[in-house]
């Protein structure tokens, strides 16, 4: 197999699955995998999903990091619940995200499909009872909404990176939000500028409101940095009366 990122040839380990199941989904080689900083689900912040082992112990209280405590006190959380992240920000993932998002190499995202699906199942499992799980009625409660980009950005980039990630997880994807205003890139702003933005850049998609009522919503994005975007999106979703709003991002950084 060819590694999606570095292009090196590698062999998948011999297991029953790799021998008997014809599987040619592209993936990363072991060297690239090893250089990614995966976040263990039991060692992360309960609210924002950041890897707590990277923080000093003084900055953490009851498995919650200081930033999330600040958010709690700010009263801007609203409906927004928790974030789940897969990887911590490091030089390799930075390079990957540049190639994926800014250079347009959408094929790279397919390498994360497995991780994203696993994370989605974990989230579904966490929020459901055994009875729901047994009769498989629970996943229908979840609705996936990719964070939208503006029409201008879409034309410039050619694709919406959150949508690409959402498609890897699969249905039920709903374009519940639209972004009409064209703004400066979040990645070009500093932390204070980001936290200062209170006005939501999103609008509810009127055609989809009925699909969101009494559903658990999972927002998908590529990166969670300060959490402002997620909270503004959750705020915008209030009129649709969802049960809860959580999010899943590829990176926490």
């Amino acid at each position: 197999m060819r590694c999606l990122f570095c292009g090196a040839d590698f062999l998948k380990p011999l297991t029953f699955q790799t021998v008997f199941v014809l599987d040619d989904t592209p993936s990363f080689c072991d060297t690239c995998r090893g250089r990614l900083a995966a976040i263990a689900p039991d060692a992360c912040c309960r609210c924002c999903g950041r890897d707590l082992s990277l923080l000093e112990s003084t900055a953490v209280k009851h498995h919650i990091c200081q930033d999330c405590i600040w958010w709690k006190h700010s009263g801007r959380n609203g409906l927004y619940g928790t974030n789940n992240a897969l990887f911590s920000y490091n030089p390799l993932i930075k390079e990957m995200i540049t190639r994926f998002k800014f250079r347009g190499d959408t094929a790279l995202a397919a390498g994360f499909a497995c991780d994203l699906r696993c994370a989605f199942h974990r989230i579904v499992k966490k929020g459901s009872t055994w009875r729901q799980r047994l009769f498989m009625t629970d996943s229908s409660q979840f609705v996936i909404i990719p964070i939208p980009v503006s029409a201008h950005r879409l034309r410039e980039r050619g694709f919406n990176q959150a949508e690409v990630l959402a498609e890897l997880i699969g249905p039920p994807i709903v374009q519940g939000l639209v972004r009409e205003k064209h703004e400066m890139k979040q990645s070009k702003k500093n932390r204070r500028q980001r936290l200062a933005s209170r006005e939501s850049p999103f609008q509810l998609n009127k055609e989809c409101i009925h699909l969101l009522e009494n559903k658990k919503i999972l927002l998908i994005d590529d990166i969670y940095t300060t959490g402002v975007t997620m909270r503004l999106a959750a705020h915008t979703l209030i009129p649709a009366h969802p049960l809860s709003v959580d999010s899943l991002t590829l990176i926490h950084g």
């Binding site: 060819r2 190639r99 250079r103 347009g104 190499d105 959408t106 094929a107 879409l154 034309r155 980039r157 050619g158 694709f159 919406n160 690409v164």
Partner: protein, 484 residues
């Protein structure tokens, strides 16, 4: 209505014509990265000055593809036809699934709906300094050519008069660069755009000051990744092959140094890039010590003009490598044992006050061996490899004699001249060292007239065909040069 018609048929005025001409000539842009609005493009396309083509085209080479209906693609910009490096994405611009090339992503994505724009109108005049037009000599190189070099230079000039391609097959250290000076001068005087393409950044960096010193009146542009020495529309460009991907239909004459070097050899994309950068019918001049089979056969059968230089410019024979068995050196180094023959060899070099290159097959081994040697008491030793951020500093230290030995991967196998150096290849039986690489490595030794001899030793764990071929080739060249 007449107004409308008029405005549509309006021919671009000469004023903005030159601006667009200079922006587009010799280069290929994606429509979205044009330095002027896309609307204006249409006028030029209608006037026939600008050509537009699709970035990725379907490639159906044989009847099987037609029968099976399997789609194959070709990236027009980088020439990639390896189907594994194409991917499909949903594209918001054209609103459907779009194929894109993953091979040349770093230069901006090329999708199936991307349009590549290039200038096909009249070629802009080269803006040369006054002196050139008066007819003063351009080449200020003061050295003199040996009789062999002189003959080669004359043959090259004749071939260029006839606009034919030419092969300079010269042993390492024959003075290839000096041979082409007169040809460069002739081409520049004719007002041609000339490129000297080489495979590696290091070679560009070494050539650039030499060429600038030889042609002080001519703007010389140096193109490599991270270069700060680019001059727009310079008549003489020294470039890595990679950087030529953006060029199209630009150069009247192409010199390719070290045709057979590693990236070319493996990457058809670079070959495509160089061919695309040249104008149709532009002559190619290949310079190499170890021509690849295609060129060699073409030359020997007389299809390609060329000249063979079997003697170095100082008239001494090439040093012939000797083989020495050392066992599994890589394994020993990993275990922390310094193989005795290597240690002995290195100690001899140090007592004789000769500097040494030690070539190893992998980056990991560079680290291992450097550390091992430093621990064994050899202090003035450093290791370099392609990913080393300090490699230029270390090489400069070595040139100035502050380092006694340099452990290196094959990156230093060509284009590097350090007088009086001797060479060991540690683990010469590795696959990385093919016969061409070994010939090139042996060619590092005895390049200067002051110390034309030196030791080349291949430490191996069993002779390989490549090693034997390399030695045979060197001996053949020496015989052709009239030694023994």
């Amino acid at each position: 209505m007449p107004m409308l018609l008029l405005s549509r048929k309006s021919v671009p005025t000469p004023n903005d014509f030159t601006e667009v001409q200079h922006a587009l000539h010799g280069r290929e842009f994606r429509a979205e990265e044009l330095p002027f609005p896309e609307k204006r493009l249409k006028e030029y396309v209608n006037a026939g000055y600008v050509s537009v083509r699709h970035g990725i085209i379907p490639l159906n080479e044989n009847i099987f593809d037609l029968l099976t209906g399997k789609k194959k693609w070709l990236c027009v910009r980088c020439g990639n036809r390896e189907q594994e490096s194409f991917a499909v994405c949903s594209c918001a611009r054209c609103g459907s699934k779009c194929v894109y090339c993953r091979h040349c992503l770093t230069m901006g994505i090329v999708r199936a709906c991307t349009k590549l724009v290039t200038w096909c109108g009249p070629v802009p005049e080269l803006r040369l300094p006054e002196d050139v037009l008066i007819g003063r000599p351009l080449c200020h190189w003061k050295g003199s050519l040996s009789s062999d070099q002189q003959k080669a230079a004359e043959a090259l000039l004749q071939a260029l008069e006839a606009r034919e391609s030419f092969l300079i097959w010269a042993v390492a250290g024959a003075g290839k660069t000096e041979i082409i000076y007169s040809a460069l001068e002739q081409q520049l005087k004719k007002g041609h755009r000339v490129v000297l393409a080489t495979p590696r950044t290091d070679v560009v960096r070494e050539l650039l000051p030499r060429i600038r010193a030889a042609f002080p009146d001519i703007p010389v542009s140096g193109l490599y990744a991270g270069s700060k020495e680019t001059i727009p529309d310079a008549p003489l460009v020294i470039s890595t092959a990679h950087q030529l991907i953006r060029s199209a239909n630009r150069f009247d004459c192409v010199f390719i140094d070290e045709v057979d070097a590693f990236p070319y050899h493996f990457d058809a994309m670079l070959d495509y890039a160089v061919r695309k950068a040249a104008k149709p019918n532009a002559p190619f001049i290949f310079l190499t010590a170890t021509p690849p089979d295609i060129l060699k056969n073409a030359y020997l059968s007389g299809k390609l003009r060329g000249v063979m230089l079997a003697r170095r410019y100082h008239g001494y024979p090439l040093p012939v490598p000797r083989f020495q068995w050392i066992g599994n050196g890589a394994h020993a180094a990993c275990k922390g044992w310094l193989p005795y023959p290597l240690s002995l060899w290195l100690r001899e070099r140090i007592t004789q006050k000769r500097q040494a290159f030690i070539f190893v097959p992998s980056i990991a081994l560079v680290h291992e061996l450097t550390e091992l040697l430093q621990r064994s008491g050899y202090t003035r030793i450093a290791g370099v490899h392609a990913d080393d951020p300090h490699r230029h500093e270390k090489l400069a230290d070595f040139r100035e004699g502050r380092l006694a030995a340099l452990v290196t991967t094959t990156i230093l196998e060509r284009g590097v001249t350090v007088p009086g150096v001797e060479v060991a290849v540690f683990g010469a039986d590795d696959r990385v060292f093919d016969d061409r690489a070994l010939v090139q490595i042996s060619g590092r030794v005895g390049r200067s007239g002051d110390c034309p001899r030196g030791d080349v030793v291949f430490f191996h764990n069993g002779k390989t065909l490549a090693m034997i071929r390399a030695r045979r080739q060197i001996e053949q060249m020496n015989r052709a040069g009239g030694f023994k």
